[in-house]
Symmetry: C2
Subunit: 166 residues, 2 copies
């Protein structure tokens, strides 16, 4: 009743509420392209390069049975493909199809645009400061690359031509 309601917000509520905000953006942005947030996330991860199911599970924090379903549905929509792993008959490499690659790029761009707009009230220097601080948190906590930096990825994800990073 004294030091509050003054507009100052604690670090934890600030993080949780901004998370809420970004979640909403992800959902809206996805809806615009007929993607669920999860499918959008999957596409974004695959923009970097193809991954195996287990790798994806680890990155996205999902049980493998959950992954099967997600990839199934996304595959059914023609956005993703299961390629056999050259050096392991059991394994599978999940990769973007041409269509998936295009949609991923659009979704990525739209999401970026929207998230950027959230920070419209901040000066350039403040945005940099924020990026630096959040970047530290992301790094410290080893958050998987669920969203690429604007320029990386395009090189490795370029095409279907038997690229086999790993």
């Amino acid at each position: 009743m004294d030091k509050h309601e003054d507009g100052r917000i604690g670090i934890v509520p600030a993080l949780v509420r901004s998370t809420f905000l970004v979640n909403a953006v992800y959902a809206e942005s996805g809806r615009e392209y007929g993607l669920t947030p999860q499918q959008g996330q999957l596409l974004c991860v695959l923009m970097a390069q193809p991954y195996g199911m287990s790798e994806l599970g680890a990155m996205l924090g999902l049980a493998k049975s959950s992954l099967t379903g997600l990839v199934d549905r996304t595959e059914r929509n023609g956005l993703v493909r299961r390629d056999p792993d050259p050096r392991d008959t059991r394994a599978v490499r999940v990769a973007l199809t041409a269509r998936g690659s295009g949609l991923a790029a659009e979704f990525y761009a739209e999401t970026t645009r929207r998230v950027e707009k959230l920070t419209a009230g901040l000066a350039a220097a403040e945005r940099d400061a924020l990026a630096g601080l959040l970047g530290r948190i992301v790094l410290d906590n080893k958050v998987p690359v669920v969203f690429l930096e604007p320029d990386e990825g395009t090189l490795t994800a370029r095409e279907d031509e038997g690229r086999d990073i790993r």
Copy 2:
């Protein structure tokens, strides 16, 4: 290939990836108390005060039909109650039960603890700076109070005793 891979992260990826992180925390923290993230969120919102279904829908960004289900399940678990609205027979006030209030407090505390731990690598001054910047974003974008400040709420949400804030 030149200015990247140097650990610096753009503002948008930083926001998205930290969001991913907080989402994971919410999920884990909830699991610990047998709550889904959505139910946890609902409890947190109701810590402040009871709300009508429509209000909740607006705050959480859910369609009313989605709300019905969420409240149903949470009610079935004995955490929440539908009180009749004194001045509108049609309407309903969703409020925490005693049990829900307790669980909400625990979930809130645990989540706070975990989110705080994410920022462990930051100095106190940096945390303040981060809180300030994120706070601006939250304010600018009028994010609903889906997570209270540490001390507010307890007063209004105190008890079942026919409190009727609006």
